[in-house]
Every structure is written in C-alpha cells, then in structure tokens.
Symmetry: C2
Subunit: 285 residues, 2 copies
DNA sequence: ATGCCTTACGTTATACGTAATTATT
DNA sequence: AATAATTACGTATAACGTAAGGCAT
C-alpha cells in the first residue's frame, strides 16, 4: 500500500522540482526521497517519472498522480477539520434569544449541570433564530410564541414588562402609566445588544432619537450624570435598580413579552435537569 | 500524521464491530489495533470512541471520521485506477475505421515502428469515430472525407471498389457491370464486422436478405459449397481471391470509397514514420 | 469459562541517514 | 567544482507480536 508520508514526499518533489530541494525542505536525505519515489512507482505499477542520469521529472502519469494526491490530502484535511468541528459542537450548548434578559442566567444554569460543556449565548433576530434551531446551530432558543411543531418542545419560561425610566424632573415623570406614543419625540439612551427592544422602540416612537451605548459602564455613567430618559424592565430592576429614575409602566401590548423556551424533542432527555431548573425558576408571575 | 494503514484498521473495526474480530480479519494482533486506535485519536485530538472496560465502540465523532475515511480510500482507489488507465492509453495506439479494409495493415505498420506499444483497431460508425477522435479515444481514424479543421490532419490513404461476386451459373453472372438495384431481391451471404458496407447494402437493396456470418471459416466454406452471391472488393481480391466466383463491378458512387486517414496535429511528429509508411503504401490507384 | 480490551515488554521490519559512485552542467 | 540522482550498507524508529491482567457476559 502507498502511505501518506510517501505521497507527501511526492507532492514536495512536484512543488520543488528536484529531489534534493524537496529533501532539504522536508528535512530528509536525498536517498530517502529516491527510495520513496521508487516505492510509489512500484505500488502504482506504472512509470511516473522521466529519468536521465542526474535528472528526474514527472511524466504524464506522474502529473496525474500528483493531481489526485492533492485531492487526497484535501480530503484528509477536511476530515480532521470536520471531525474537530463536530466535536466542538458536541460539547457546546448554544442558546439564542431575541432579547437579552432570558439569557442572563443561562450560562450559570447549564454550567452547574454540565461543567464539562461550553455554554454560548447569542442575541439574534427571530428569522435567524428559527433557522438556527432547525439547523441545529442552536440547541435552545427563546421565542415570543409557542413553536407549534411535533419535533419541538416549547413552554413559557419568563415574562418581562418594559418601563420608561425618567429623571424626576422630566415632563412625564409624574404619570402613572404611559403608551409609547406619549413619549414619542423625546430622545433616549439605549444599550446596544438588546435585540428586539431596539426595533420595537424605533417602530413605536418614530420621532425619537436613540443614543446607542456599546459600553455598559459608559451607559451607567451617562444615566447618573444626565437626565436623558432610558428604559428599564421588571427583570432589570430585580437584578440592579437604576438610581435617580422613576419607572413608569408602558401599556402597549408589545411592552410585555413572554419568552418561550424552545428546543428539539431529542434534547428533552439529555438536558432534563437544566430544563427543569429553568422551569422551576418561575420568573413567570 | 495519520497514515493510511491506520485508517484501514479503523475501517476494519467499523466494519467488524470489535477490535478482536477486525484484528483477526486483517491478520494482526488485537493489541496492534488498540494501539492504532489510540494513535488515530491522538492525531485527531478528539475522542472517537466510547470505551467501557472490555468494550469499545465508535462515538459520533468516530462515525464521522469513518465516513470521511471511506471517501479518502475511494479517492486513493480512483487515483491508482485513473493513473493506470492513463498509462494504458499512453502506450496504446487505437485506430478506428468505418470499414474493415483500411485496418488490415495497421497493426503491422505501427508495431514495426513502435514495438513497445499495443495497437488496437476498432470498426465503428462515423458518429462514434468522430466523437472518439475528439475525445482522444482514437489517435487515428479512417473517414470517408477530409476533416476540415485546423486541429486535424487528413489525407486520402486508400481507395476501395465494391464488386458483386456471383457463382458462374447465376442469372447476373454474365453482366459487365451492375448497379445495386439490378441485384435487389437476391439474397447475399455477408460477413459480420464490415461496418459501413452492411448499412449500404441494406439501404441500396431493400428487397434482398443478408445472411450474416460471424465466423470467417464458415463464410468461406459456404461460398465454396453454395451458389449464394456475396460481395468482394479490389482490396479483398489483392489479399486472397475467391474461388469459383465472377466479380462484377458496382457502378453506384457509394460502391467506391476513399478512406482518409485523420488524426490530431499533435500526433504528426510522434508518429511520423508510421504515417509516412501508410502514405507510401500508395494503395491510391 | 470465555471473550474483549488494555498495558508492558521484547522483536522485527522498515524508514532514515551516511558514504560512495556516476553523471551532468 | 558543484549539483543531482542512485546504490549500498548501517542505524534507529516504530509497528508488530507475545504475555499478562482486568473486566464483563
């Protein structure tokens, strides 16, 4: 049988033109290359080289063999890459959501039960999430509704209510409750990576401008030092209240989101403990 | 690096289910297989097996690796096959013709000049011949006309005249010359593998029946012992006359064929001596 | 008890290197 | 003289086998 280490030498010869140069590049002796080329020829049982007394080159057969050899090595490379990628996927749980709040506790919960696995979370739009679920890129996802398919399991895992957060001296700070349209025209500070909420605000308040802050520290600092309005939610307040702001509930239907945890049935058994933990959390009030 | 002999053992294990069985089938010891599987895993740097104390099986990674391994071996097999096929083509001259006569001397002529090469001749229809010339399946071909293309060389190499060969007591035996239609309705003995002539006779003499003889000896014997008419040609007569038959020339245009030797320009230099020999033969009267 | 996998250790095959030879530029 | 390929021979790596141990059915 021809071995790959031999074909590797053949490729080096094809690349460098002489056995000497190829041997040097591979840190081998010239005689080694000579022998290997002879052995490959023996195995093919056809001549692959044109030999003069101190010159050797590929003939037509040899060139063809080199082409195929490249293909074989490409396949080998593919194989290792794909198997490694598959292994990575096997030991990574990826959870997607269209809003940030449902993901806050996810890494901790999964890591508790499966310490050997990597937990990865992503905020994406709904279209991407549904596709990713189907293609197995995401094992779990939070969606705004039940996914009605026999292949999936889906249950309400969390509810979030959005609030305006005004400085005490803001014109609307004394209201009991408001609709989006009531604040349309005011400019707001907004965190980046809040997924769906970003789109919703822009849609509901087309006259407002939203000042996006990528850095969390910068956002917090601006809240303290300016009177610019921003948003908050019951879930945000639970974790860390916002100083010097008055929260006013938003009455629009869309300001209340229910997050449905959704996953393929095949994961029910494997990840049962973590799923139970999410259910038990009962952030569903 | 992973070597093919290792992947071969992996395939055997995938096929036979246990290392012991695989080792037996490959005439190796079980420990050898154990070591190889460990080495493959080392090289992949991911786990490929599910190990219990006295049981080993492929996990998902392993199954994927086996799939890719099959592909690699398919490619290896392809490579050897294709290179060998290419080599065979390289050392075989294949000459095609739409009639048998031009091929009679071809093997001798080419073998004289290129004793290391195999000469193969084929009788095919014109469509197949033109395609085969283009695709390089045939290096040379005899065609009924010049091939007008800058990539090819073409010259008239031979001329053949077809004759009726009647028994002396046949109704038409005393004619000086005839057209096909004059003999339409009589039944003829015919050799198989005469290419174009077969089609021509059937077209020109639709009322006749043709009794095909595959065996040359049978044909000759039937000619001697029956008075059934057959065909001959000037080229046939040159080689071996037919006893007890009277040859009568056929006047239809198609009964005279000029055979044009045709080949790609790239062969002009390589095969010059043989080509010159064919030209010199001057069977063009 | 038998079958299967693994580890440890000794043996053998073979891939590699060194040195010498021949030929070409 | 320098460069290249090949041949011959010695060396070292590593692939293999044998023997022994542990676990499961």
């Amino acid at each position: 049988m021809i071995e790959l280490y031999e074909l590797e030498q053949l490729l080096a010869f094809a690349q460098y033109g002489t056995l000497s140069k190829a041997a040097e590049e591979m840190n081998l002796s010239q005689p080694s290359l000579t022998r290997t080329m002879q052995h490959i020829e023996d195995e093919f049982r056809v001549s692959l080289f044109l030999r003069s007394k101190n010159r050797i080159e590929l003939n037509e057969n040899g060139k063809l063999a080199v082409d195929y050899t490249k293909k074989v090595f490409d396949d080998m490379k593919d194989m290792v890459e794909q198997v490694r990628a598959h292994d990575r996927r096997r030991r990574t749980i990826t959870v997607a959501s269209y809003a940030p709040a449902p993901l806050w506790d996810i890494p901790r919960i999964f890591s508790d039960y499966y310490p050997e696995m990597t937990v990865s979370t992503e905020i994406k739009n709904l279209e991407q999430i549904r596709l990713g679920l189907k293609e197995g890129i995401y094992q779990f996802a939070f969606l705004p509704e039940m996914l009605d398919s026999p292949d999936y399991i889906s249950f309400p895992a969390m509810k979030e209510h959005l609030y305006f957060a005004f400085a005490p001296d803001h014109a609307l700070a004394q209201e009991k409750e408001l609709y989006f349209k009531d604040a349309d025209g005011f400019n707001f500070l907004l965190r980046s990576d809040i997924g769906f909420w970003d789109l919703l605000c822009r849609k509901k308040m087309p006259a407002s401008r939203f000042l996006i802050q990528t850095e969390d520290i910068v956002f917090t600092e601006l809240i303290k030092s300016t009177s610019l309005p921003c948003f908050t939610s019951d879930l945000v307040t639970e974790r860390a209240g916002i100083d010097n702001r008055i929260s006013i509930p938003i009455l629009d239907d869309e300001a209340t989101q229910t997050y449905y945890l959704t996953y393929k049935k095949e994961y029910q058994k494997i990840f049962l403990p973590a799923i139970e933990q999410i259910k038990k959390a009962e952030i569903m009030k």
